[in-house]
Symmetry: C2
C-alpha cells in the first residue's frame, strides 16, 4: 500500500468531519504525525463478541501505518474479520480554568484513527512493526535489547492500521470568557499546565551487578 500523500490534508469523511467545536479540528497531517509521535499508549476501541471494549495498548507509527499489539483485537478479528476499530491517542496538556464552571475545559491534543486493521503475518513486516513499536516507546532500545527469536515472533500478534482516515483535535490557550460579562468577577482564570516527565531509571533487583543503564535510557529523565 502506498503511503498517504503527506503534502495533502487529511480527507474529510463522514467519520472524521468535525461536527462541533469546529475550531478545534485539524486536517493537517503534520498535526496527526506530531500527536502520534509524542506518545506510545493508545486506546483501542473494538467490538469483541458484540461487546464494545476500549483497551489501552502500546503502538508504533511509521507515518503511514500504526502498529499495535493485537491480543484483544485478535479475538475480534477471528470472530468477525474485517471489523472496524477506532484507535485514539490523547495528550492532556492542562486544565482550562475559566471564571465560570460552564467555560471550564482541557487543553489537549488528540487523534482518532479509523479503519479495519490488518493482521501482520509476513515475518519481515512483523519484525519491522515490532521495531517501530519498540522505538516509539524507547528510542534506541531495538539495537540494545535482544531482538525477538523466530518463536517469539510467531507468538506475537501484531496488527497494522492505515493512517488514511483520522480525526485530529487540538485545544490550546487560555479560557474563552475573558471578554464576557464574567470577566468582571473577582475570579482567577488561566491554565494549569500538566507535564509528563521521565524519572530516574529503577534497576531490576535481579540485575547483574555492574551493568549500568545505557545513555538512551539514563539520559531521558535529564532531557525531558
Amino acid at each position: 500500500m502506498p503511503p498517504p500523500p503527506h503534502d495533502r490534508p487529511l480527507p474529510e469523511t463522514e467519520r472524521t468531519r468535525h461536527r462541533r467545536l469546529r475550531e478545534q479540528g485539524s486536517l493537517d497531517r503534520a498535526d496527526l504525525d506530531a500527536i502520534l509521535a509524542a506518545g506510545f499508549v493508545c486506546h483501542l476501541g473494538v467490538s469483541v463478541d458484540g461487546t464494545l471494549m476500549v483497551v489501552p495498548t502500546v503502538y508504533g507509527s511509521d507515518g503511514s501505518t500504526l502498529y499495535f499489539h493485537g491480543s484483544v483485537a485478535s479475538r475480534s478479528l477471528v470472530a468477525s474479520p474485517g471489523a472496524a476499530v477506532c484507535v485514539t491517542v490523547t495528550h492532556v496538556d492542562g486544565l482550562v480554568l475559566a471564571r465560570s464552571v460552564f467555560e471550564h475545559g482541557v487543553n489537549y491534543r488528540s487523534a482518532m484513527v479509523f479503519g479495519v486493521p490488518r493482521p501482520v503475518t509476513d515475518p519481515d513486516e512483523k519484525l519491522e512493526g515490532l521495531r517501530c513499536l519498540t522505538e516509539q516507546a524507547t528510542p534506541g532500545q531495538w539495537d540494545y535489547a535482544r531482538r525477538p527469536s523466530r518463536k517469539e515472533l510467531a507468538a506475537t500478534a501484531l496488527l497494522a492500521l492505515s493512517l488514511e482516515e483520522a480525526s485530529v483535535k487540538v485545544r490550546t490557550g487560555p479560557p474563552d470568557d475573558g471578554d464576557s460579562p464574567d470577566a468582571e468577577l473577582p475570579v482567577w482564570a488561566g491554565v494549569l499546565p500538566l507535564h509528563a516527565s521521565w524519572g530516574a531509571p529503577e534497576p531490576d533487583p535481579l540485575l547483574t551487578p555492574g551493568i549500568v543503564a545505557p545513555p538512551h535510557v539514563a539520559q531521558r529523565s535529564a532531557v525531558q
Copy 2:
C-alpha cells in the same frame, strides 16, 4: 439506585473476566476507586450511527456513579437509546525495559467500566454531577468559580454510568526475565518511571490585574 456494596469484590461477568495475564486483574473495588480518583480524563467508547468511536472526555466519580459530558454520546443515545458504552481510565506509570524486546511492557493502572449510560435530566442531579466532574479535575474549584446558571445547566448534556460492572488491571514492578537465560546477557533491565506533574499556573492574558491564583490552584504544582 443504591451504591454498590464496597465490602464485596467487583462481580466477575462475561465482560470483565480476565482471560489473559490474569495476574494483572483485580476485583478489588478499592483499586477501581483509586484509579478513577487519580484521573480526570477518560476514553469513552461508543457506537455513533454504526461507527465505533473512542473519544477523550472529562469525568467525575462519586464512588458509585461515573459522570461524563455527553455531547458525542448523546448523538448515539438519541440514535439508539440503551446502547452500551465502555469507559476506560488509564494511568501510564513507566516503561518496563527487559533484557529481551519480547518481555518489554508498560507499568500501568487501568479501569474499564461497562454499562448503558443514563442521561441526567433532573436539575439537582445534574448540578451534583457537574460538581463531581469539576471537583475531580480541580478540587476546590466548584466553590470558587461561578456555578452554572439555569440556562447553562439546560445546555449541558450529562451522562451517568453505574460503576457496577468494571474491569481493573494493574501492572507494577520490574521486568519478568530476571530469572530467565536472558539474565546472563549484558543488558540493563529495569523500569523507567513516567510522572505527571502540574506546572505553575499561567494567567489568562485578559485577567483583571491584581487577581492572584487561589491556593487550591497555586499550591497544586508544589504538592505534586
